[in-house]
């Protein structure tokens, strides 16, 4: 069997660089898998499909990190509507305004030299 051409991380990052939040779906388990991997943790199968999230989710847990230097910032766990959870942060509001249960929408954070990563912003009117 030839080696895999891409790692799960590379595929994930390639999607992010195109502005997409990608996750895997296990047809045999009938549920989402995240973080991306080479076999499904529910069935052990290597049949995993890549899907693109609609980018909507809900804050599951939240904290404010107070670094020794610099401003406090948010770290949150987000439950995406497709049924997977990821670590991220909610931007555009003060960290103390981030609430469990809050509806949030994905956007890509990019900065030169670093890999892109997903952040979230509050959904207006939610």
């Amino acid at each position: 069997m030839p080696n895999s051409p891409d790692s799960p991380l590379k595929t994930y990052l390639d999607h992010l660089s195109r502005g997409e939040l990608a996750y895997q779906f296990s047809p045999e388990a009938g549920r989402a898998v995240f973080y991306p991997r080479v076999i499904c943790p529910f069935t052990g199968s290597d049949k995993l499909e890549w899907r693109i999230s609609k980018g909507l989710g809900t804050v599951y847990a939240t904290t404010i990190v107070h670094p020794a230097e610099g401003k406090p910032f948010n770290v949150a766990l987000i439950d995406c509507d497709e049924g997977f959870r990821l670590m991220s942060r909610v931007e555009d509001i003060a960290p103390e305004q981030v609430r469990i249960g809050q509806r949030v929408r994905f956007r890509v954070h990019t900065s030169s030299g670093d890999d892109p990563y997903p952040v979230f912003t509050p959904v207006e009117g939610a």
């Binding site: 973080y35 939240t62 990190v65 107070h66 766990l77 990821l86 670590m87 469990i100």
Partner: protein, 384 residues
């Protein structure tokens, strides 16, 4: 734990190494060896009796080799399972199994850390996780803070209730001459301390100290003829639910639920039978989560349970009687010190902090970010 026989092995020797801030240049193996010498003296065995060797430390990748070399032993059985602070509760079960199979007869379990002397950044390897590291979580505090946020949301737990855990630990520590912290602490002190990762201030977080020690486990048969009363291993259980906090299925329910269930089943005991409860309190939320998951109170009631001095000296339940990781000592992987305190409580060696008529004690270890849980239930000969 299935396959292990209740009471077939016992902890016969226990000792801390130097604690708090140790001498410059002291290595983790120096501390393990110091604990070993003292634990051997505690039980009357000698180095040549040791034929099983177990250890774990964050500061040495091949620590069991270093310890074997240092002690000049070529043990029949070795184990260096490393799953964070609960590693030593895992080692007790593994040693018990090895002894039962005749793979060894006298097992040494050792630990050392110089994280305070050399600095936390030097003491453990920084690991990168592409799905978490970009968000700069201050680990492990941030992971436990996320769990606390969820507990507060679901059950109405308050910062004051979390602080009550730290205050109780401090009151116990003031009764322990070896404790790092020497001054009283109030709920207001905890709340007004420097914020680390909301809702935790620095007083919701464990100490950063040096320290270590050793314990000696042998067969129940051999244990009878040694210096001090054996602490029999009545029950063990463990559970591994995740490695990273993002993958923890439910942040309000830990693997202590499963590890406790297995340990209780093996021991034939329940929470009401435990006289001294030693829980891994890396953060104030830990004590609440483990009290709930180990059945001392219902899920969600941990906050009310710890209030009003219930787990402080003189309260209804003796919890973390040495002062815990919050106020006694936390060298990074505190689980060995839980076992030492549980054994000493069973022997009646604890002076001002001694729990009356202590026949059954629990040491519950936690590792990673609520990731690995291991419960050990110990009892006196009266409980066999």
């Amino acid at each position: 734990m299935d396959g292990l026989k209740r009471g077939s092995a016992a902890i016969v020797g226990v000792a801390e190494s130097d604690l708090g801030q140790v001498a410059d240049g002291m290595s983790v193996t120096d501390l393990m060896a110091q604990g070993t010498r003292r634990a051997l003296d505690d039980c009357g065995l000698s180095l040549k009796d040791i034929d099983g060797l177990f250890c774990a430390t964050a500061q040495s990748r091949l620590s069991v080799l270093g310890l074997a070399e240092y002690l000049g032993v070529d043990p029949k059985y070795i184990g260096s399972t490393i799953v964070g602070g609960s590693s030593f509760e895992f080692h007790v079960a593994h040693a018990m199994g090895a002894i039962a199979l005749g793979l060894c007869n006298v097992a040494l379990i050792a630990y050392g850390s110089t994280q305070r002397t050399i600095g936390r950044k030097q003491a453990s390897v920084r690991e990168t996780n592409p799905y978490e590291t970009p968000f700069k979580p201050f680990l492990p505090s941030t992971a436990y803070a996320l769990a606390a946020s969820r507990h507060m949301h679901e059950f109405g737990t308050t910062r004051e209730q979390l602080a009550a855990v730290a205050v109780a630990a401090r009151e116990w520590a003031l009764l322990n001459p070896k404790a790092w912290e020497k001054k009283p602490l109030s709920i207001a002190d905890v709340l007004s301390s420097r914020m680390v990762s909301y809702p935790f201030t620095v007083r919701d977080c464990c100490l950063v100290t040096d320290g270590g020690g050793a314990i000696i486990v042998t067969s129940a048969e051999r244990a009878k003829s040694l210096k001090k009363p054996p602490a029999y291993v009545l029950g063990c259980g463990h559970s591994v639910t995740h490695a990273n906090i993002t993958s923890m299925p439910d942040l309000t329910v830990t693997g202590a639920l499963a590890s406790g269930k297995a340990a209780y089943a093996m021991a034939g005991l329940g929470p009401a039978d435990i006289d001294a409860v030693e829980l891994y309190d890396a953060f104030t939320i830990n004590t609440m989560l483990f009290l709930e998951d180990l059945g001392f109170c219902k899920k969600g009631e941990g906050g009310a349970f710890v209030s009003g001095g219930r787990i402080a000296p003189g309260g209804g339940l003796a919890v973390n009687t040495n002062g815990g990781g919050l106020s006694y000592c936390h060298p990074g992987m505190y689980g060995l010190l839980l076992l030492i305190e549980a054994v000493r409580q069973l022997r009646g060696e604890c002076g001002a902090r001694q729990v009356k008529n202590c026949e059954v004690a629990m040491a519950h270890g936690n590792g990673g970010v609520l990731s690995s849980q291991a419960t050990v239930i110990l009892g006196t000969s009266a409980t066999l």
